[in-house]
Amino acid sequence: MRDCLKGSNPVAIHFQMMRSYTWIQTTDGAVQQVEQEVAMFCPLICQEVIQKGMGSSKNYAIFLPQRVGTSMFSLILDYCRFHQVPGRSNKERKSFDEKFVRMDTKRLCELTSAAESLQLKPLVDLTSRALARIIEGKTPEEIREIFHLPDDLTEEEKLEPLKNTTDDPRIRLLNRLYVKKRKELKEREKLKNVEAEEEHVDDRSVDDLVSFINGGDGDSKGMKTSKNRKKHQKRKDRQKCAPEMHKKESNVFSLLCHNAKHDHELQSSLRETLKLQDAADVIFSPTVEFEDVDIDSEIDPALKEEIDREVEDFARILNSDWPERMQELLSLGQERRPAQLSINGNGNLKRYGSIIIPRTLIHQSLHDHHAPRRLLK
């Protein structure tokens, strides 16, 4: 201190010696003096001075928290130096803040951390808002990259983690019961399937298209196609018998639900667990057709392009006999197409053929007695 006073005006020296300084030790070990009114702007330093009497001399310098590095402290001092002056207008302060917080993300993070450990709330707010603005509008990947964060959420978790549903013993018991019931039902269905005639139904086009997209691997494709066909045929057979299966299974389920009726959470958690189990089946079973479709985004672009092209080719091939099929389908649907506009006695429009007019407009036009119907120009 004496060095910097050498050769100065004695009056100035006198005034300078009248000012108070706080002694601060930064993390690099260096000790510095900070004008007291500036340093005391930081609540932590203020606390150290007032409550513990620290900072009055070099030997009793206040140790800054670990997260306040030397350059950060210097920045913070700039902030404090500006804001501790009482006369400034809101506009001035705002303008200073906007300029102050313009820095690269790395420094912004360090500054936020430093401000937080010094308990300097206005600066924490300012830097937090700046960080929020950086985060806004970004994708998770972008955010991870900017802040070097790990990508540690699993696919399942990204959808919606269903944790702790099997902790409740009641749920586990119901789970077991339900699985048991399901197995029983499947057995019963198999027994009813006495005549498993392999019917040749021509839904090959749909299956082929689907398995072609999912395949790309010659062997599995063949296998999948035949598996598809088998599964599809089995369904056809089942369709012939046991229409009352529907009722039975729903009865079982409603029975289970009835037991759990008084505990909504139990009921829904049960369903959730079943979903998890089913989902697990889907993911780990190697023979489920649509599995590959989920990893579509990870297919390399060249292959994706090829697949896209092939879908188009297929569509074109199938389109060649499409007009006839379409006629057939349309004629099936045609007889049920609702008739052109019909208003029943109450003026309620329930169905109308060709126009796409919203409900609220209907009410308005029907209630509107004063509007002239025709405006001839």
Partner: protein, 584 residues
């Protein structure tokens, strides 16, 4: 403890998150990493669930323990066009029951296209001690009894908004149930109520709520009483008038004009049911500051309409009937340079001949004169490719473009060509387009344009368009941000749907009615995609009573982690693994 440089100061993460309120941003934050996921979910205050069947209330409650505001949507958008049969679903009951036990401090509930019972309203009224905002948009199933319960019990209510809902009017006195000590109301929208409300109760309510900024009356509030209300609420920012006609009396007129003059903060006007043009000049004092004018129910014609609109140079949003005609839209284009949103509704949608002179020229003039125009809904009877190309060139920042040519499959009336090129120009030039509704004669080509260019498109509405599955395939494979797709009466079938099955899991929902999707394809889709609910809506009877190749009447597919729903009526079937075995 060493810390990596550039690492995020996690001790302030919660504080930083308090400045991030946008749903999309919150969702992005929650997907960054495990620790962010945890911190985010504990401090999330507001949630938006775009499809009430996509998730179960218990799941939301478990993940977000500190919610203060919940927004839910129920029925698909096409319910507005009566395409969703009554009883389909969307009942809010289970949600309200779950929320009532889980969040005693819940403050806001916003519902759209949901079925709300009086019972649910009573639960809301009794369960949330600090309840502040209730918005029921296009809802139904409740009566004024439910509203009475809310009025009587919600001591801190700030907003009650019933926009476009269907309410059974059982008691006129429900407004009187707000206690005399109740003064916190800031927003009241009862414009949808059919029957009159007790005017004295309304007057007292308005008089004792100094924070009332939004007041939207129903048509039963007579014009001669409006002045009284305005005088006791000069701080109003948004006003929806009642019926705007009465016998023209000079004292009534001057009282009204004086009252409007006193409303210096008024920025938005609506209502105007049954307008008597003689009273229109009473609103002129507020016109210069008006930002939003909603005349969609106003039967004002020609000159009166143009005169009114020309008084509003600050106008940003105009909703109007086609009585404005091309000539009125030209005046609008000349006067309202800040216009961002225009909606023109048809006054006589079912008339065979046009009753007004509103053509594509009106929209073109607005696109030329209003550089900030970004949202358009336009009902008309004729369009050309040239007009659409011009509009596209004039409005590159268009975000929402909905064109409704009233006659289906109407071609470019000058060239008789399809409107593919016109809409193609729209999607190619308007790079920020988020919402698009098509109409007119359209082939697969328009969908190719959409798939190629509309990379930010989130919602697409299609009717009577396309030639084949390729059309649907283009959209599903090309539109990366597609969220909602609704289709009616188009020749789209199984192939495009099955080929793009994975895409459906990245979207909120797909609606297809009167198309060519077979029952077999629905079953396949439902069975193979466990995270989709594939709902077949068919009022002809069980789909398995018809051949598998038979097209279903209506199809509603939405992604969900809640599994199939159990509140379906008899004409809705969910295709999933269980039901498939049931059908066999």
């Amino acid at each position: 403890m060493l810390r990596k440089a550039n690492s995020f100061p996690e001790e302030v993460l919660e504080h930083v998150l308090s400045f991030i309120t946008n749903d999309k941003d919150r969702n992005a934050v929650s997907l960054v990493c495990k620790s962010w996921y945890e911190i985010e979910r504990w401090c999330r205050k507001r949630i938006f669930v775009g499809n009430c069947y996509a998730v179960r209330p218990e799941m939301v409650i478990r993940r977000f323990p500190e919610l203060r505001s919940v927004e839910l949507k129920g029925k698909p958008h096409f319910a507005d066009f009566n395409l969703v049969p009554d009883g389909w679903g969307g009942c809010v009951c289970p949600w309200i029951a779950a929320l009532a036990t889980a969040y005693p401090w819940l403050e806001e509930i916003r519902l759209k296209r949901m079925v709300v019972s009086d019972e649910s309203l009573k639960v809301i009224a009794k369960s949330f001690k600090n309840f502040k905002v209730l918005v029921l948009s296009s809802c139904e199933g409740f009566s004024t009894d439910g509203l009475a319960a809310v009025a009587a019990n919600c001591r801190n209510l700030r907003g009650l908004d019933l926009r476009e809902s269907e309410v059974d009017d059982l008691s006129v006195q429900w407004l009187s149930r707000f206690p005399d000590s109740f003064t916190s109301l800031a927003s009241l929208n009862i414009s949808c109520l059919g029957v009159e409300v007790s005017f004295s109760a309304l007057e007292r309510l308005v008089g004792r709520c100094p924070d009332l900024k939004i007041l939207q009356l129903n048509h039963a509030v007579p014009l001669d009483k409006l002045a009284n209300l305005l005088r006791s609420a000069p701080q109003l920012v948004e006003l929806g008038t009642g019926a705007y006609s009465a016998e023209l009396k000079p004292d009534v007129f001057s009282k009204l004009a004086g009252a409007f003059s006193g409303c210096k903060e008024l920025r938005s006007l609506s209502g105007f049911w049954n307008v008597f043009p003689g009273y229109l000049p009473a609103v002129y004092p507020v016109c210069s500051g008006l930002k939003s004018l909603n005349l969609r129910y106003a039967n004002i014609q020609g000159a009166d309409l143009i005169k009114l609109v020309s008084q509003c140079p600050s106008l940003q949003r105009l909703w109007v009937l086609d009585y404005i005609e091309d000539i009125g839209l030209e005046a609008l284009a000349a006067c309202c340079k800040d216009l961002t949103e225009l909606r023109v509704f048809p006054s006589d949608p079912y008339g065979v001949e046009p009753n007004v002179s509103l053509t594509e020229r009106g929209l073109v003039s607005v696109s030329e004169g209003c550089p900030k125009l970004h949202s358009v809904l336009y009902f008309c009877r004729q369009m050309t490719n040239a007009a659409l190309v011009t509009i596209a060139k004039n409005c590159p920042s268009m975000t929402c473009f909905r064109l409704c040519i009233i006659e289906p499959r109407a071609p470019d009336y000058q060239t008789l060509r399809p409107l593919d090129l016109g809409f193609g120009a729209i999607v190619e030039n308007c790079k920020d387009l988020r919402r698009l509704s098509l109409s007119g004669l359209l082939t697969d080509r328009v969908f190719e344009y959409i798939g190629t260019y509309a990379k930010k498109l989130e919602m697409l509405s299609v009717a009577f368009a396309g030639d084949s599955d390729l059309g649907l395939h283009h959209v599903l494979s090309g539109c990366e941000k597609l969220c909602k797709l609704e289709i009616r009466d188009c020749p789209f079938g199984d192939k495009a749907l099955l080929a793009n099955a994975a895409k459906l899991e990245t979207m909120r929902s797909l609606w297809m009615s009167s198309c060519c999707v077979s029952f077999g394809a629905c079953k396949l889709l439902g069975q193979k995609m466990p995270r989709l609910n594939v709902e077949v809506i068919d009022e002809r009877g069980p789909p398995e009573s018809r051949p598998e190749s038979c097209p279903v009447e209506k199809l509603y597919i939405y992604r969900t982690i809640a599994g199939p729903r159990f509140d379906m009526p008899g004409f809705v079937w969910t295709m999933d693994e269980d039901s498939v075995s049931r059908f066999s």
